[in-house]
């Protein structure tokens, strides 16, 4: 079946199987920034934004996003670079596999909350697993990023 949607504001139309998930569709069309860590919506690595809201793309059917706006990290390159700088400053960056999903979640957090508390930040990113960092450093990096503007 053919499914059309807006990938970072550019309309795309892909031939997909009925049971195909968005993460696989995007990766098979060269959007390799979508990282698949578990393929069962438990790790958050494949997170992207559907209409601005974080969604785990390994568990959303491509057929269900007809006409919707999808944002991958390619759509927020400047913000991702800023977030990266804060991760580096706090010693929060390591293998990077969870980073893309986190960057998108952090970007969504910034849009949704004016001045989030530590607890609100933690609740927002808790679904994005990271096995490398001390985790506290991520929260510190996010706070520094949110303060930037």
């Amino acid at each position: 079946m053919l499914v059309s949607f807006y990938l970072n504001d550019v309309k795309v139309t892909y031939e997909v199987k009925p049971g195909e998930y968005l993460a696989n569709t995007l990766r098979s069309h060269g959007v390799k920034s979508v990282r698949i860590g578990c393929n069962e919506s438990t790790c958050g690595s494949c997170t992207l934004l559907v209409e601005g809201k974080p969604v785990m793309s390994c568990s959303i059917l491509t057929a269900s996003i007809e006409g919707k706006h999808i944002t991958t990290v390619e759509g927020i390159q400047e913000e991702a670079a800023k977030i990266s700088r804060h991760f580096s400053n706090e010693g929060a960056d390591q293998c990077g596999f969870c980073n893309v999903g986190l960057a998108l979640v952090i970007y969504a957090l910034k849009k949704e909350y004016k001045n989030p508390t530590d607890e609100e930040i933690k609740n927002y990113i808790v679904g994005n697993l990271c096995r490398c960092s001390g985790l506290q450093s991520q929260v510190n990096a996010i706070k520094a990023y949110l303060k930037e503007e």
């Binding site: 990282r35 960056d93 969870c98 096995r131």
Partner: protein, 775 residues
């Protein structure tokens, strides 16, 4: 060479990691991002039984399915035993694995392989394979494995590379014994003896990128493997020997790796990609599912450790006796070496003893194999030793901090264990040229306010805060065995291309090495182009394991940079027509009196105009010692006496890792290690049902720490300089994980009076202990 820290401009300074921005921006460079577009998809048929022999296997229906390119069973692959462990040569792990075998030894073991045009077809083909199993009695309790009537490795053709105590007929993968002095006599002499037994569980690595590999043939028909590996050079060697191919016909490339922690030291699919591509001529790819990572890669070795410590009334420890039993699961990967680390990187902490003994065996069971995992035996040993030290202190009526201060390792001291115990072989004697452990203990105590808080304080009628501590050590590579090398090439414009075998798996070695080279050459990190871990293009490195990269590969890079500096001065002397001794080089300009030439100008001239040549140097390094990093750790833990639940409110560590080449990355290593260690201490556990089926096979039933459980980490480093390390550095990759089990165990005891002898330390165990105390 000792370098004044105050003069360092790049090293020991905040430097953003060289790959951080690209990673956050989503560049494609993990292994599966780089698979060829039309690769065959490989899927593995896995055993539903914990132990069975394949009586008959029929793949004819699978082969008939349209789109299936290749089906392999044990009948179709070379019958050459090897070890998946991914170690140096000769391996200290038994060669007890075949690519595919007629025996399957755990639920999830490989039965057959399918390569097809797409994933759906491959899965359909797996279902079409008919297997007739003779189900055998599994061994699922490691305390019953030794001399069990079920022999897990009855087959011929398996062997040890050198004596490691391998005795498969008794289910023994390896065994080891050592003794210094007369332990029995010293224990008898002791005023106080504590004798305790502890159990540690299997832990899953749970790196976010699952095991991944792919293969293709290059234009010369050579096999090119991309692998998410910690050991590309070992992989090339082991692929070549097992497949009967020349090393020259294989290239292994390690792209970015999404976390390893020891789990990617081993092989996990590369043989299947290699065989598929060699036999079909087509590119192939294999990506483990999350379930396969949990169920078919490997775990930490579960252990039983008996720790007996004897001390005199004044607190001086005179003997330690440690016996351990380790469960290596179905295959003996890292069996001996992890086992030896339980002793060799734990017991020297208390180096003033008159006698010390360590020994025991590593047994096979029908569990998921155990292998390398950050800490590598030290976390298990540390739990047993450091919990027992607290129990000893209580018996002596002393502050456990005091017992540690009296007995622990100090600078310029040694332990006879270093010479006796290596990794699978004899060790190397060494003096502690850098050991700020006394400072770490003192500073950590200040940060947690030990004086006022130990042992506990009441918060309310139902809540108590307990304070616990432990000390730890690790190593920095394996002396006379681990080797790293670096090549530096001068580019026109004055930048440098650095190629290293060192394997960045997310720990940041590309950044660390860039900093070391930039510091020595008086330049900045942006002038360094680093490329690592490609067996065709980079010089050799043993790989990322044994806390070796900063120390071993870092020293190699430093040696190469020093050589490059000398070489540049020599070339500048030619240009300036001066003696080398008269030339100063500040990183950008060579000066001699009033004559000067810039590096930029000289580098361009040497390629196009004068003194034409490519300036390049290569250097290697191997350790003559393995200087241990040291750590003191403290925790404040709040326990709910009604439910047994607890929160780790603050985890304080002070680490001596020599110079921190990159202070933020060092902090990331320590804190990341602590969080993984807290996972093991508090709740992570690999669990099976009675038939050996893995129950903890996804992130819902195998919980890893999230920022909801981590409240506060207080991380400091001691001012320390290791004279044999690059710019004074030692390792820092593993030490962070070692302390949490003991620290939490001690803190819980201090809060509640309940001593937990098995990991993880769950609320249930605490509550049961509290009920027991009330009786």
């Amino acid at each position: 060479m000792i370098v004044d820290k105050k003069k360092m401009r790049v090293v020991n300074n905040k430097t953003p990691s060289v790959d951080g921005k690209g990673l956050m921006q989503g560049r494609s460079f993990y292994t599966d991002d780089l698979a060829e577009q039309n690769s065959l998809v490989i899927k593995i048929l896995r055993s539903p039984h914990a132990f069975a022999r394949i009586k008959n296997i029929d793949v004819s229906e699978a082969q008939k399915i349209n789109g299936v390119a290749l089906v392999l069973t044990y009948k179709d692959v070379p019958h050459v035993s090897f070890s998946r462990a991914g170690q140096g040569y000769p391996e200290p792990s038994p060669h007890d694995k075949f690519i595919l075998d007629e025996y399957v030894r755990y639920v999830g073991d490989e039965v057959a392989m399918v390569a097809a045009n797409d994933e759906d077809t491959a899965i359909e083909a797996l279902k079409a394979i008919k297997v007739d199993y003779e189900v055998l009695d599994p061994v699922l309790n490691f305390e019953e494995a030794f001399e069990n009537k079920s022999v897990i490795h009855p087959e011929d053709g398996i062997n040890e590379m050198f004596p490691i105590g391998f005795d498969p007929k008794k289910n023994v993968a390896a065994s080891y014994e050592m003794q210094v002095g007369d332990v029995e006599k010293e224990l008898k002499k002791s005023d106080v003896v504590v004798d305790e037994t502890f159990y540690t569980q299997a832990q899953a690595h749970a790196m976010l990128e699952t095991h991944s590999s792919n293969a293709r043939l290059d234009e010369h028909n050579r096999l090119v493997i991309y692998s998410s590996t910690q050991t590309p050079f070992h992989m090339r060697r082991i692929l070549a020997t097992t497949l009967g191919m020349p090393v020259s016909q294989i290239r292994v490339i390690k792209p970015r790796v999404g976390g390893g922690f020891g789990g990617k030291q081993a092989f996990h699919g590369e043989f299947f990609c290699a065989l598929t591509t060699l036999r079909t001529g087509r590119p192939s790819r294999l990506v483990y599912t999350r379930e396969e990572v949990f169920g078919s890669s490997y775990t930490r070795h579960p252990m039983r450790i008996e720790m007996k410590i004897g001390a005199m009334k004044d607190g001086r420890i005179n003997a330690i006796d440690c016996r351990a039993l380790s469960d290596t699961g179905a295959y003996g990967e890292h069996s001996l070496t992890v086992f030896m680390i339980v002793g060799s990187k734990v017991l020297p902490l208390y180096n003033k003893v008159d006698a010390v003994r360590f020994g025991g065996r590593v047994v096979y069971t029908n569990h998921v194999p155990a292998g390398a995992y950050r800490g590598y035996g030290a976390i298990q040993g540390n739990y047993a030793l450091e919990a027992t030290i607290d129990m000893l202190a209580e018996k002596l009526g002393m502050d456990p901090k005091k017992v540690r201060e009296i007995n622990s390792m100090k600078e310029k001291e040694t332990s006879p264990i270093f010479e006796i115990m290596g990794e699978g072989t004899k060790g190397t004697a060494m003096i502690m040229e850098s050991c700020k452990l006394p400072y770490c203990i003192k500073r950590g105590a200040e940060l947690i306010d030990w004086e006022h808080n130990f042992p506990s304080k009441k918060v309310s009628d139902t809540k108590v805060r307990g304070y616990g501590m432990a000390i730890a050590m690790q190593g920095s590579g394996i002396p006379f065995m681990d080797m790293g090398s670096a090549t530096i090439k001068l580019n026109d414009g004055g930048s440098y291309m650095v190629t290293v075998g060192a394997t960045d798996i997310g720990q940041g070695s590309d950044t660390i090495i860039s900093q070391i080279v930039a510091e020595e050459l008086g330049t900045t990190v942006d002038k360094i182009i680093i490329y690592s871990s490609d067996t065709d293009l980079t010089p050799f490195d043993c790989g990322a394991y044994a806390s070796s990269t900063t120390y071993i590969s870092g020293n190699a890079a430093w040696n190469a940079a020093q050589k490059m500096r000398k070489r540049l001065i020599k070339e500048a002397a030619t240009f300036l027509e001066e003696k080398e001794d008269n030339i100063e080089f500040d990183g950008t300009t060579f000066t001699s009196g009033d004559k000067s030439i810039t590096l930029n100008e000289m580098s361009i001239k040497m390629l196009y105009n004068k003194n034409l040549q490519q300036v390049a140097v290569t250097e290697s390094y191997y350790g003559h010692v393995s200087p241990p990093p040291f750590m003191a750790a403290y925790a404040e833990v709040e326990v709910d006496l009604e439910t047994g639940e607890y929160d780790v409110l603050n985890y304080v560590t002070v680490t001596d890792c020599g110079t921190t080449i990159n202070p933020m990355l060092a902090r990331g290593q320590v804190e990341g290690g602590i969080v993984q260690g807290l996972g093991m201490a508090c709740f992570e556990a690999v669990k099976y049902d009675k038939k050996g089926n893995l129950l903890s096979n996804n992130f819902l039933n195998y919980h890893i720490p999230t920022n909801k459980e981590i409240h506060k980490l207080t991380t400091e480093f001691a001012d320390s300089y290791e004279p044999t390390g690059p710019f004074g550095a030692k390792s820092v990759g593993e030490i962070g994980i070692d302390t949490p089990p003991a620290v939490i165990c001690n803190a819980i005891y201090n809060a509640t009076g309940v001593r937990i002898h098995s990991l993880p330390i769950t609320p249930e165990k605490i509550l049961m202990g509290l009920k027991e105390l009330k009786k």
